[in-house]
């Protein structure tokens, strides 16, 4: 037993750090849209935009440890996800079930980070229950037409395409939809972090692109959204928490030593070392190619708990400066209100609340974990 990644992996880690430090602004200032553009271009140039894909599709030949090191560094530096839906969900789905034509059409665009994707899943009256979904594709005059509505769609406002789960006469299938097609109506659903990242999308007799159907989901089979999201994006969440804990530590370092917040902080730090150890055990199994010790759900449940607690503790530590609710533009133009660390904290913790829900509620995950324990409901 040993914890060390070894000299070659340490060298890789240094390379990753150097790369990020070169193309991503340091945490000390508020990031602009232009920063994100520079970063994305650098990713594509380096061939690191879709590291989890096979090499011949634009990915890398990294081993699990390298993927982990990469994700860990991205979280530590606060680098934004390239495009989760396109790279983590649609890409792998196309590779597994798409036709050669579909792959050729979409994969290079996704790998080059040229197209934005969103994922249409939940519906107003069905929620996440697939069997109750009514969005339907049918054939009319030799053409495929889509009707229905998807809600809580993340990134729909800026997306070029949607990967949409819809009914077909013989079951459910995914459809690739051009968001600029006639009959696609996108309406923002403002979220509690004050952002316009979520929307409701209505389809009114939308004519689909040729060959837009991927795969077929067997009727009655359990469809889990999170089965598509990448292993490695789950595997390095402790780094995100570690970065936030460091911010917290800076804020509370000059607090009264008898303040109870220090005990809460230590409690959380132990929890965080638990998450790090869980991640390493999982990674070790992947790296050695043996049976993983537990399902990814364990990591998801633990990481969300820690991130939410951390958010709450940050808010607590900022005192009155937890109150200002300024948007990026204002902060960018006029500077932070109160301590720099506090500026985005409340919004960030709200955003974490939201992204946790996207993976399914804690209770849904526990249902899933129970199934993984090998016991049927």
């Amino acid at each position: 037993m040993n914890r060390y990644f070894g000299a070659d992996m340490d060298a890789f880690s240094d390379r990753v750090d150097t790369f990020i430090e070169r193309y991503w602004p340091s945490a000390a200032r508020i990031v602009s849209h232009a920063d994100v553009q520079v970063w994305r271009a650098a990713l594509v140039n380096a061939g690191w935009s879709v590291p989890q894909w096979p090499e011949h599709q634009g990915g890398t030949d990294w081993n699990p440890t390298q993927h982990y090191i990469w994700r860990r560094a991205c979280s530590t530096y606060g680098v934004p996800d390239a495009d989760e839906v396109g790279t983590n969900l649609v890409g792998p789905l196309l590779m597994a079930q798409g036709s050669a034509v579909q792959q050729e059409l979409f994969l290079p665009e996704i790998a080059a980070l040229k197209s934005w994707w969103c994922f249409g899943f939940m519906e107003p009256h069905a929620g996440a229950e697939v069997a109750a979904m009514t969005t339907t594709v049918f054939e009319k005059d030799g053409e495929l037409r889509l009707n229905g509505c998807k809600n809580f769609v993340f990134d729909a406002l800026r997306a070029d395409f949607m990967c949409c789960l819809a009914r077909r006469d013989d079951g459910f299938a995914f459809f690739l939809i051009d968001m600029r097609a006639d009959g696609v109506l996108v309406k923002s659903t403002p979220t509690l972090d004050g952002q316009d990242t979520m929307a409701q999308v209505t389809f009114n007799d939308v004519m689909l692109m040729p060959a837009s159907q991927i795969g077929l989901v067997r009727p009655g089979s359990e469809f889990e959204r999170y089965q598509f999201s990448g292993v490695f994006s789950t595997l390095a969440r402790s780094a995100q928490a570690r970065a936030q804990l460091n911010i917290l530590d800076r804020v509370i370092s000059d607090f009264d030593p008898s303040d109870d917040i220090h005990r809460k902080r230590n409690d959380l730090a132990v929890d965080l070392s638990v998450l790090e150890a869980l991640e390493l055990r999982y990674l070790d199994a992947l790296q050695r190619g043996v049976q993983v010790p537990f399902s990814l759900i364990v990591l998801r449940l633990k990481s969300r708990k820690i991130l939410l607690q951390l958010g709450a503790l940050q808010v607590e530590s900022f005192g009155y400066y937890a109150l200002p609710f300024a948007d990026d533009a204002l902060l960018h133009n006029e500077g932070p209100i109160g301590p720099v660390a506090a500026a985005a904290s409340v919004r960030q913790s709200l955003t974490q609340q939201l992204s946790a829900i996207y993976e399914g509620s804690t209770e849904q995950l526990k249902d899933e974990a129970w199934r993984h324990l090998g016991h049927q409901k």
């Binding site: 037993m1 914890r3 150890a277 390493l280 633990k302 249902d367 129970w370 016991h375």
Partner: protein
């Protein structure tokens, strides 16, 4: 990074695991708990023959050169069987203090008897006023012409009743809570002036209150340097934490698995109670607590084997915090989900719960180790 075990480690784990599964059933264990001695001398000899007591001593000391990982692997299995034989007190605590603090001569004098199973020992470190502070000592050792005179009182000495040898902490200088000025002595349990009051513990073991009434010690009874003993006992106790923590991991595994089995078969309201979502989620939490504690156990063992220092101590304290929190949750949940049966003396569940409760207290509870973790 590699979390796999060597062939020797796997063989060791299998050997202990098979013994616990095949030869250490719950009913026999309960008979031992009720016996006068509280454990089986026959088992003890067998463990010695199997070589278990020598695992964590170097070859020069007469052992096999194992470390924290080997100790962890054995103790986890011991936990599954709720082992009552005093390996913790004799081998890990007393043996460990001699190993870490003793001179070559002292090691040659005491360790062979511990490794071959002929000697029972105990570490007398706790005092009534000291709670978990290893340095809080009112017991004193006064230097005189021949050596030292030991005077004081030690609380809840595990394996006190059976011990031939006592490893005792006493103050030779400094104030009551100073870490410097603590010295460690090896004391013959039958020496004049040593008196014991023996009793059983909640988790089925044996312990003693021990009074030292002007016990005369020769100069070579001192382990290490005079006044520098705190580090010795701290090290032995950190090994002890790893051992009981690993036991707790073993206990938790038994509890969550037994609870899942029980909930699948126990029928109420016309269906197995495991069909209820509330219970399923509770069992998922139990499973997760076990895996989390196990993960920190690995980290603590690896840190200890990398070298003993602040980072190892911090990892051990983090582990102990988790052991306390998870142990309580898993223990209480197992009892709750078993309902009335979980409360009975007849079923094993309550006994694991008791052991977990005691392990939380041993060597410092959650709050104590959270503070230590924060300091380091």
């Amino acid at each position: 990074m590699d979390f796999s075990f060597t062939e020797e480690q796997t063989l060791l784990e299998d050997s202990v695991s098979k013994y616990i599964q095949n030869d250490y059933d719950f009913d026999s264990r309960q008979k031992l708990v009720r016996s006068e001695q509280g454990f089986s001398s026959e088992n003890w000899s067998q463990f010695a023959e199997l070589g278990w007591f020598g695992v964590c001593f170097t070859e020069a000391e007469g052992g096999f050169g194992g470390g924290a990982i080997e100790l962890m692997l054995m103790a986890e299995q011991f936990g599954k069987g709720l082992l009552v034989e005093p390996y913790l007190a004799t081998v890990v605590l007393a043996g460990g203090a001699i190993k870490h603090g003793g001179s070559e001569d002292q090691k040659a004098k005491y360790l062979p008897g511990i490794i071959d199973g002929s000697v029972q020992a105990a570490l007398a470190y706790a005092e009534p006023q000291g709670r978990f502070n290893l340095a809080d000592l009112t017991t004193t050792a006064q230097r005189d012409a021949d050596g030292y005179v030991l005077k004081g009182y030690k609380a809840v000495v595990l394996n006190g009743p059976a011990a031939d040898l006592l490893v005792v902490t006493a103050r030779t200088s400094g104030e009551q809570r100073d870490t410097s000025g603590v010295s460690v002595f090896v004391v013959d349990a039958n020496a004049e002036g040593v008196s014991r009051r023996d009793y059983p513990t909640v988790d089925g073991l044996r312990a003693s209150e021990i009074t030292f009434d002007n016990v005369r010690l020769s100069a070579d009874a001192l382990l290490g340097e005079e006044g520098q003993g705190y580090a010795i006992v701290e090290r032995a106790v950190d090994d002890g934490i790893l051992a009981v923590g690993a036991e707790a991991v073993g206990c938790m595994e038994v509890l969550y698995k037994d609870t899942v089995e029980y909930c699948k078969t126990r029928e109420q309201f016309g269906q197995p109670i495991g069909k209820f979502q509330v219970l399923q989620h509770c069992m998922v939490d139990m499973f997760m607590e076990h895996e989390q504690t196990k993960s920190l156990m690995y980290m603590a063992a690896m840190r200890m084997d990398e070298g003993y220092g602040a980072q190892a101590q911090k990892a051990v304290s983090a582990f102990k915090v988790q052991v306390g929190k998870s142990g309580r949750f898993v223990g209480q949940s197992a009892v709750q989900l078993h309902g009335g049966m979980g409360m009975t003396d007849e079923l094993n569940i309550g006994h694991y719960f008791k052991r977990l409760t005691i392990i939380d207290t041993l060597f410092g509870n959650v709050d104590f180790h959270l503070k230590r973790f924060g300091r380091l």
